[in-house]
Amino acid sequence: MKTNMKMKTMKLSALAFAALVMGLISCGKDDTPTPPDTKVSVTDSIQVPFSPSAPFTLYRFKDSSVVANSDSASGNWDFGIRFVNIIVNGSVITQQGIYDSFNSAPESGYVADTTVTTGDTSYVKTAIDAGFTTGWYNYDLADPTHTFHPKAGQFFVFKTRDGHYAKMEILSVNYLPFQGPAPTTLVYKFRYTYQSDGSKNF
């Protein structure tokens, strides 16, 4: 108990020290102005039910968080995944090339999802193609792992609903260990860079 207390205080003092140092740096910034790093670069994983009918799992770039599906009508999320289908809240470009060296978002070409309705049936035509041969992944029937393989050299450039830009690449899609013939949960691992200052620079 005692040692815990001690550690806590130590941590606190470390934080205080860091704040002090940062304060010093920000003081210095006034003298030689360098633009603040407003980019957020994150590698994250989310779990998505292995089901073509489950609710979409929604994700927000700004704070790297999963948003409750009840919030789906709001602008609080940026993309959502159900099975292999990806929806976007703003608009998106599917970009070919090398993620690391892609430094600025295109001016135009962003496509939004559209809802097609006839009578009482409707479905979402997603901007991101999730087709078996044409979509964002490869699927090899002969692969004993039965996993979806995100195509290399392909990533997404997002224009979020509030006008921010982000680039995002899906790195892998795996299953949580499962019993029985069908998996229950897909683990999507992806990385992204989100530009919070509203510019197109990554």
Partner: protein
Amino acid sequence: MLHKILCAFFSLIFISSVSAQDRTDSAEKILDEVVVTGTRTENKVSNLPLPIQVISAKNIQLSGSQKLIDILQMQTGLVIANNPLGTALQGYPNPFGDGIQMQGLDPAYTLILVNGEPLVGRNAGIINLGRIAIGNIKQIEIIRGPATCLYGSDALAGVINIITQEPVKNSMNTQAHYASNNTLGLTAAGTIKKNKTSFELFGNRYSSDGYDLDKNIYGKTIDPFVDYSANAKLIYDFNDKNKFTLSARYFSEKQFNNYLIYTQDQPQVVTGTTVETDASLFAKLDRKINAGLNYTASVYATSYTNNAEVFVKKTDSLYEKIELTEFLLRPEIQVNIGKNPVSLFVTGAGYNLEKVHSTRYGSVKELNSWYVFIQKQFQWKQKTNIISGARFDKNSLYPAQFSPKIAIAYKVKPNFILKGSIGAGFKAPDFRQQFLNFSNSLIGYTLLGSNELSNGLQSLQNSGQINHNINLEPYLHNEVLKPEKSIGINAGFDYTMNSHSTFKLNIFRNDISNLIEAYNLPFNKTNNQSIYSYKNLDKVYTEGLEANFSYNFNENFSVFAGYQYLIAKDKNVMKEIKNGKMYKRDPQTNVTTLVSRSDYKGLFNRSRNTGNIRFQYNNTLYKATAFITAKYRGRYGFNGLNNFQNGNDILDDTREFVNGFVLFDATISKQISNRWKAQAGIENLFKYTNKLLMPNIFGRSYFINLNFKLEK
């Protein structure tokens, strides 16, 4: 123990080769076999400008093996290819089996014939070679390169023709075979020849308990089975000009399945059987009009069924029932004018009626086709043998096919023959690609064969599974699948170095276009899942060389060695690489780079290097023979190996390579008396196994054979 046996064996060889020094002049002569597959007429191998291998009954007997696939595997360039779809099943009964990859092409591209007539009933392109009992094989003829000009569809890589024994004398043969995994083979064959009639009857029962390579997965890797086969052949010689042949073949295999399924995520054991049957009837009349004119009229009928029925063990309720029935009827006539190899003209025509019924196809599907072929074989200035031919296939479902071929052999010296051939081949779209109508209940996608597309889409839209806004009009005119096409070139030489050694080399190239692949339609179902169909898409090529060397040290000791070098690549992938559109993403560093031309190693499941070596040693003193084979399969690519993925599904990383391996077999035969012969053998001496990728290879196994023969 084993070590001692091997030492003893090799010292025997050593002694014999020393003693061979002073009697090389009595060395066994190289045989010039007579084959029928290359030209549909009898020809000596040396007169044929085609790459041909012959496996003799003697070699089959010496190996002691009961499995055709093991015997074929001894041949250079014939590689066992598991259907990768099967390896993905992990513990479920694998319906796809394993077939023979020839010149780097999948098993679906090699035609399998028994006495010149095709077997039907391919599962995902593979014919279960266990359907052919080997006890009465006279020889196996293997032709490399397209043989479509004579045999029609499927003969792109080549033809494997299994020729059974002719009843030429009164004889009786029986064999008992016992091997690891409680494998029991019982064979009996009898032939009678009396005056103008000869008759042969052959029966075989073969059963095994199967085996389990992975104890962590419920159920056996190879399920227990019982096979029965029977052949009968009746020949009646009216006179020296007219001959009538009637033959029948029957095979059945019952496999005992026992595996785990999951209903509502609860494991349940299901048990049941898979029964495969294969029956055929063949009638033929050979008629000689005069020395330079004869004809053959024949009718062949064959049927194949594959019925699987499994029940939930606890409740005894039916879990699944799958049925497949295929039928082929083929009347044919062939006329031969002249005499080979000097000048022979062959022409023929036939009609195919094919029917297939499957639980996944809806109704019975029927296919009608007819064909004509012509072939001219002639000699030019005695040193050049030429065969040219062509075949025309007209089919009710796909465009007519014209398949020409020309082959030339030039005798530079009597012992050095240059050979070259070029020919066209085709493979008809299979029933699955045309007629499948299947919706996956778990994921919700739909697969529609090309001929089902229009109906399938309309009924999906009518039932609200496709949105009414989508204009189906462009997809309602079923696109006719074209046959997959190939151009095959083979060139090489046969060099008989002296009376006891030969060297044969063949360089090949196959260009295949119109490969049929699945694709997804540009719109989804209302459940957001894709609809797939089939289209002619890919282009691939294979090229390489086959080299065969045989050397008879003396009449009692011979060595055979073979090697194949193979490159097989997808032309579309090469184009993407050239255009800078093919990327790879390292799964460790996530760094994405372009795939370079040298990164791309070609198609999965192909070994660049394969080889085999075979020793045969006779000890006349003890009337014993030793037969030893080693088969090497070099490393090959496998997608998803050890969960490796770099985001392009092509072979471009050494981490996608499965290590090469060697299978080593040894058999010792001993003639006990004129009538009795005993054999003992070891298969897979070094216990190579790969439970995931090579489930058909058991660890080390042992067998014994006892043969009894009566001849008059």
